[in-house]
């Protein structure tokens, strides 16, 4: 029978219990006894005995283990602290660089987390959807965020999986008056009473189920209540709406968290809006939201929508198009609704007529990418500097190995040091983040709070970075052969030199790439904003027309204004460029019955074209000399209908759905203007039609002379007092309004700039540390060269050569990458700027310059040192 063995697990455990190194003695003793037991009591009893020995000895040995570990730990800490103190400069550069990388990542993390969490705070957020419209024919397709009035109720009635639906409709800037105080509120929406069934906004006062059931009632946020009444319990108070109606406050909500896609501060009851009860399936002015039953699949519901369209919208369509539904479908008309998850709206919504601002998931991607890159650069720094300093610890490693340290022990020691530095860096980063948080919040337009979750993530990132960046130096350091070290034949400074250089190149590639991309993105932004818009947006004051009295007395107001010589032109319209929101179906005479185009319809007064300085291509604008019942189209509209500007004049257009006593309402095209941008330059110019409908005027546009802005404004204000008494003089400038289309991008652009600058800074920090270290290593070499006759200039040149080569290589790598990336990104835009070679060259030069400056101080100092000194210290 083969030699009996003690239980394997027990032996295994015991073998780890002797840090003193005499585990074999212990096991030997036990095994002798074990064999004796086997002979006297048998194998079973022996096994039991051995196991009991192991278990009973465990707690006792563990005490030793702990004490010993503590002692070793204290020793390693002492060694590390000593080491850090001796190399204070490099250690600080290392820690600061990593801290900056962590800080940047943390800031970006805060932003990204906020963006990704929009609307998730609502109950059942995963079952909430917005119903959007998608339509196409043979020419074009559109996707709209708003739908017809009767849709919401129909959904609830016809589809059991729809538990509840509600509608919201923007009310536009609304005048709210409480006794003395008057304010324009911009975030006002009409809502069905079911809105609180869907959206679990917390009520401070009032009953969610009844708050908006009655007409002329409204619900406000706590902030709004404070603003008007100085307190929050304002149930039952009344305010005046648009100077016409009294509304009662029936509810006060807690202020909305900032990550809501629809930041409102006032919800007014839809019950008071006549058109909301309409059963006509035309027009799309309502944002429809629905909650599905638990487990319901939105796709299945979507599949039923074409039938829904046929049943309900079919009748309306037939009336509009003058053909049967089947014929329309055969001719290529497609319409359906889509269920858009609520939580997708903020980042993924790409529709027309959003009722509030949306952001884009692309920004999240870009920022995350920047964070990763910055972190990568910081890690590379860390690794590089740690290995570069390794030469100083070679002797220590040699000694330890001689005295019996195992490889893994050494690796653990150095990894521990990396982790410790990473933790220090994390603490520093936290401090930086806290300090910058308010300013950063302003920049991003949000409020940021460092939550426990974020801290946890920071700990995770720190550990990850500390370990990852520590592995390489640890491995390198622990690989030193004791003989080589102690004999002095180990070549210092060149261990891993090639990899180190490679890493520097990677760092600079990333930094240069980031700079180029940011520069091009900024260029595109400026391009979009500087684009010739087709009209002159500068020095145009926009005033709101509030009351119908004002609408009627517009002409008089205009005459009064024009009395002042600084007022150049005055016109009125139903909307200003940037805020067109009224598309109607039109068909030109002679076209097929199904050849219907959606055209933006804007009501404008005489002189609109002159006021905005648009260019007429054919015909004439509305003028007092001509009949006022005609249409002025833009080029795009005319081309879409298959005409040219010249041939379009005199043709008739019919607006589908606009009935008059004589049947369809025909209008004559009297003029064609050159295309002008009325939306942001993300989109191609669509068709526009202008008509004179004074009852729809809601804005007065006043072009003033650029030199007398203050006086003109004062003059207008005086006249305004008689024109619209009781309404605040709330003017805006057209170019400011228009610029707000790019607000998010502008803001983000600034953020990108800062972070990219950080990336470059961190890379340079690394380069600085590395360079000064390498130069110190080469002191002897420099001394010899100088002794042999090299000048300071020669030395500087020699030292700079390596770094220059690295930067140039980085450029060579970064240029094509950045070009490719930016080319892809620019395709998102209908109007693209060109990527000139200037950007690339400038960035390359900038990188070179910064690299030189970073290295120069040390190089020059080294070059001017006296050879005697450097050679003597050998």
């Amino acid at each position: 029978m083969p030699n009996p063995y003690p239980p394997r697990w027990a032996a295994f455990v015991l073998s780890h219990m002797r840090p003193q190194g005499d585990a074999d003695i212990l096991l030997g003793d036990l095994e002798e006894e074990f064999l004796y037991m086997v002979e006297t009591c048998g194998l079973r009893r022996a096994h039991v005995w051995y196991a009991r020995q192991a278990l009973r000895s465990l707690p006792l040995f563990t005490q030793d283990l702990i004490t010993w570990s503590l002692v070793m730990f204290v020793h390693y800490v002492k060694v590390m602290v000593r080491h850090l103190q001796r190399q204070r400069a490099y250690a600080s550069i290392n820690i600061v660089g990593l801290a900056m990388g962590l800080a940047v990542s943390l800031l970006i993390l805060l932003y990204v987390k906020d963006e990704l969490s929009y609307d998730r705070y609502l109950d059942h957020a995963d079952r909430l959807y917005r119903v959007t419209f998608e339509g196409s024919d043979n020419d074009a397709s559109i996707r709209i965020a708003t739908t017809e009035a009767p849709l919401a109720a129909t959904l609830v009635a016809q589809f059991p999986e729809v538990e509840q639906a509600t509608r919201l409709r923007p009310a536009g800037p609304t005048l709210i008056t409480d006794g003395e105080r008057t304010f324009y509120e911009n975030r006002v929406y009409f809502a069905d009473s079911t809105v609180f069934d869907l959206f679990s906004f917390p009520f401070l006062f009032g009953n969610p189920q009844t708050a908006l059931t009655q007409p002329n009632t409204m619900v406000v946020t706590a902030d709004l209540a404070e603003k008007y009444f100085g307190r929050q319990d304002v149930l039952g108070r009344t305010v005046r709406w648009d100077n016409t109606t009294d509304y009662t406050i029936t509810g006060v909500l807690e202020n909305l968290p900032q990550h809501s896609h629809l930041p409102f501060n006032l919800l007014a009851s839809m019950a008071g809006v006549e058109e909301a009860n309409s059963q006509v399936w035309g027009g799309k002015a309502y944002a429809t939201y629905a909650r599905l039953r638990d487990g319901a699949n939105p796709k299945i519901l979507e599949a039923k929508f074409p039938d829904l369209i046929k049943t309900y919208k079919g009748a309306w369509l037939e009336q509009m198009l003058g053909m049967s539904f089947e014929e329309a479908v055969a001719a290529g008309q497609r319409m359906t609704y889509e269920m858009q998850p609520l939580t997708d709206i903020h980042l993924y919504s790409d529709l027309d007529y959003e009722i509030a601002e949306v952001s884009s998931i692309n920004y999240v991607y870009i920022l995350s990418a920047i964070a990763l890159f910055v972190l990568l650069i910081a890690c590379i720094n860390f690794m590089n500097l740690s290995t570069a300093r390794s030469a100083n610890r070679a002797q220590e490693v040699g000694m330890r190995k001689v005295l019996g340290s195992g490889r893994s022990q050494l690796v653990k020691q150095f990894m521990g040091e990396s982790l410790f530095m990473a933790i220090l860096a994390a603490l520093l980063a936290l401090g930086v983040v806290y300090a910058l948080l308010p300013a950063y919040g302003n920049l991003a337009g949000k409020t940021f709070v460092v939550t426990g979750e974020v801290l946890l993530l920071l700990i995770g990132i720190t550990l990850g970075v500390g370990l990852a960046a520590g592995v390489y130096p640890a491995v390198v350091l622990s690989s030193f052969k004791p003989q080589a070290v102690l004999k002095g034949t180990l070549s210092f400074g060149s261990s891993g030199g090639r990899l180190r250089n490679g890493l520097v190149v990677v760092q600079f590639t990333i930094a240069i790439g980031l700079i180029i991309c940011t520069a091009i993105m900024a260029q595109q932004l400026r391009f979009m904003q500087d684009q010739r818009l087709g009209f002159d947006q500068e020095h145009v004051v926009v005033l709101p027309i509030e009351s119908s009295k004002a609408q009627q007395s517009y002409e008089a107001f205009r005459t009064q204004l024009l009395q002042d010589p600084s007022i150049l032109h005055v016109a009125a319209a139903s909307a200003v460029p940037g805020r067109f929101n009224n598309d109607r179906p039109f068909r030109i005479e002679g076209a097929n019955a199904d050849d219907v185009h959606d055209v933006q319809l804007v009501a404008t007064s005489y002189d609109f074209i002159e006021t905005l300085d648009m260019e007429l291509l054919a015909g004439h604008g509305f003028s007092r000399d001509f009949e006022a019942d005609g249409l002025v189209l833009n080029e795009a509209a005319v081309l879409q209908m298959g005409e040219t500007p010249e041939t379009a004049i005199g043709k008739q257009l019919v607006q589908i759905g606009l009935a008059s006593e004589n049947g369809d309402h025909f209008q004559t095209i009297v003029g064609v203007v050159k295309d002008f941008h009325f939306e942001s330059l993300h989109q191609r110019i669509g068709p526009v039609a202008m008509a004179m409908v004074p009852k729809q005027f809601s804005r007065v546009l006043v072009r003033i002379h650029p030199d007398q802005v203050a006086e003109s404004l004062a003059f207008i204000e005086e006249r305004w007092a008689t024109y619209e008494p009781g309404f605040p003089y709330n003017y805006t400038f057209l170019d400011a309004d228009f610029g707000r289309l790019y607000e998010t991008e502008n803001r983000l652009g600034t953020i990108y700039n800062y972070f990219t600058a950080f990336a470059l800074f961190i890379a340079c920090l690394g380069l600085f540390g590395l360079a000064s270290f390498m130069i110190t290593q080469r002191t002897k070499e420099i001394g010899i060269r100088k002794a042999l006759g090299a000048t300071s200039a020669d030395i500087v040149f020699l030292l700079s050569k390596t770094f220059t080569a690295q930067v140039l290589l980085a450029c060579a790598l970064a240029f094509p990458l950045a070009y490719f990336l930016m080319a892809r990104w620019l395709q998102n835009f209908a109007y693209q700027t060109t990527m000139g070679i200037g950007v690339f060259i400038a960035t390359g030069l900038l990188a070179l310059l910064i690299a030189w400056m970073t290295v120069s101080y040390q190089s020059i100092k080294a070059a001017r040192s006296r050879p005697v000194e450097s050679l003597q210290s050998a």
Binding site: L27, Q53, R56, F61
Partner: protein, 106 residues
Amino acid sequence: MPLLNRSEEMVLLAVIKLGEEASGMTIRRYLSKISGEDLAIASIYRPLDRLKAKGFVLAIDAPPTKERGGRRRRFYRPTPAGFAALEQLRHVHTELWRGFSNMSFS
């Protein structure tokens, strides 16, 4: 000099008693027999470590043998310092127990 504790005393006495054969295993067997308990190996090794650290015993390693599966064997010898410590302990013990010899504790 602080006193030896109980286990150190027992182990040291065993080392002296066992003379040339004093190893971890033999000490354990001897003390187990006397005390009647099957002592855990750790309760021998730890006092031995402490005695070694204080210089009361000397550890002598023998080269590895085949019968122990190629492992070393360690023998222990008392040192003069160890004797001195025991003397001190005996003195204290005698003083403490003086006058108790005829008493019973019930």
